[in-house]
Subunit: 205 residues, 2 copies
DNA sequence: TTCCGGGGGTGACAGAAATCACAGCGGGTA
DNA sequence: TACCCGCTGTGATTTCTGTCACCCCCGGAA
C-alpha cells in the first residue's frame, strides 16, 4: 500500500516534499523505534502495523500510555523536536510496522507552508492530549482490576481482534504491576466469564 | 497592569482584535472558572493570579493536574472548543485572578491570520503536554509520600513562597487521597525536617 | 463565658497490591 | 527421550493506603 493513501488529506505540494525528504523504515514486532532520552531527528508517521508509546522511569519501570495506528503520528516527537531535542517516551512496534520518518528541520516550514500539515499536527496534539487525559483518569481513580479491563478492552478496540497473544508478564509490564497480581485478576475475570485463559493467549468474550 | 504586558509577543492586529472581542473577568479565590462538562464558549488566558486545573471522576473524586500562571492559557479549552464542545476538566481560581476570555468562534481565524497567536497555541499545547507527562509519572510510578513531596515542591516553585496556607484536607483532595494519610505523611516529613506544621499552614524548609 | 465546628493527631482495622516462595505444566531443544 | 526454561497458579506475608472511631485544640459566634 502506498503511504499517500494513509494521508489522503495532504495537499500535493506537501506530498511532493515528503516524497523527496522523508524516509520509510520497516520495524519488526518488538523493535524499539525510539528510546527515552534519544536525540530526535525525525517525526514519525505510522503507515502500517501498530506502535505502543511508553513512559519510562529511572528504575526500569515502564508504563503503556497509548497506541499509534496507521495514519497517526507521535505527538511527542513533534513536541520534543523543538523543545528538548530528546525523547520523553519510548516507542515500540507491537506488530511488524512501516513508519515514515520526516526530518525535524523541515517541520517549521511545513507548518507555515502547508495548511493540511498544520491541521494534521493540531489534530495530533488534540487526540494525544485527550488520550493522555483518559490515561490519567485510569491511574488516578481506578484500581488494578478496572485498569486491566480497560487495557484488554482497548486492545480489542484498537486491533479489532477478540484474542490477544500476550503473556501475563507482558501485561504486568505495560500496567507497571506484577505478574502475580495480573494472573490473579485474570482468573477472577475468567470466573466472571469475561475472558478465557490459555497459554500465551487471552480470549475476550 | 494592562493585559498586553502579559503577552508582549502578540502582534498589533491580534492585540486589536482581542481588545475588541475579548472580555476580561475577575474571579475570587476559590471561584470555579469552568466546570467539567460545561459548554465552552471561550478560551481562557490568565492575566493575574493562579488557576488550578482538575480532572474529575463520576464519584466526586478530583485530582489536581497543574497550575496556570499569568501569561499561560488553558490548553483544554482550546482543544474542547473544537472537538467535544464541553470541558474535560475543572478550573478553579486559587488566588483572586484576572482572566481574559476569547470567544472560541474566533479561534480558527486567529490561527490562520496571526502567526504570533498560532505560535502561542502551539507552545501552550507543548507545555501542557509536557506537564501531563510528569503528572503521569507521579501517579504511575510514585507512592503517596513522593507525590506529596512533589506537590509541595511544585507549589513552592509556582508561587515562589515558602509557606502554604492550606489544610490537610485540601491537600488530600488535590491528590485524591484522604486527610489521615496526608497528616501522617506530613508528620513524617516534619520529623525529617522537610517542613514545619502549623494550623492551616505548612512551612517549607 | 460557653458552645460548636473545622483542623489536626492517632490507633485499629480492612483491602489492594507487591513480594517471596514454590510447584506444575508445556513446548522446544540437545 | 531427557532436559530446561518460560508461563501460569497459588499460598503466605508485608507494605501501602483508605476508612472508621475517637480524641484534643483552636477560634469564632452567641
Amino acid at each position: 500500500m502506498n503511504w499517500k493513501e494513509r494521508f489522503p488529506q495532504f495537499e500535493p505540494g506537501l506530498i511532493e516534499l515528503i516524497e523527496k525528504e522523508a524516509v520509510q523504515r520497516s520495524f519488526n514486532a518488538g523493535d524499539v523505534i525510539m528510546r527515552t532520552g534519544q536525540y530526535i531527528k525525525s517525526t514519525a508517521l505510522v503507515l502500517e502495523g501498530r506502535v505502543k508509546i511508553y513512559r519510562e522511569n529511572q528504575d526500569g519501570g515502564e508504563f503503556l500510555m497509548y497506541y499509534l495506528l496507521p495514519g497517526q503520528a507521535c505527538a511527542v516527537s513533534m513536541i520534543c523536536a523543538i523543545q528538548t531535542h530528546t525523547s520523553e517516551v519510548m516507542a515500540v512496534a507491537e506488530e511488524d510496522s512501516e513508519v515514515l520518518m520526516i526530518p525535524v528541520h523541515l517541520m517549521d516550514d511545513m507548518m507555515n507552508q502547508y495548511k493540511t500539515w498544520y491541521q494534521f499536527v493540531i489534530q495530533t496534539y488534540r487526540n494525544r492530549f485527550d488520550e493522555l487525559l483518559s490515561v490519567v483518569d485510569n491511574i488516578a481513580f481506578r484500581n488494578m482490576d478496572e485498569r486491566l479491563e480497560f487495557y484488554l478492552k482497548r486492545y480489542a478496540e484498537k486491533t479489532g481482534k477478540k484474542s490477544m497473544d500476550i503473556s501475563h508478564q507482558q501485561i504486568a509490564d505495560d500496567l507497571n504491576s506484577s505478574r502475580e497480581v495480573i494472573s490473579r485478576l485474570l482468573k477472577k475475570m475468567e470466573q466472571r466469564n469475561l475472558v478465557k485463559l490459555h497459554r500465551n493467549m487471552i480470549e475476550l468474550t
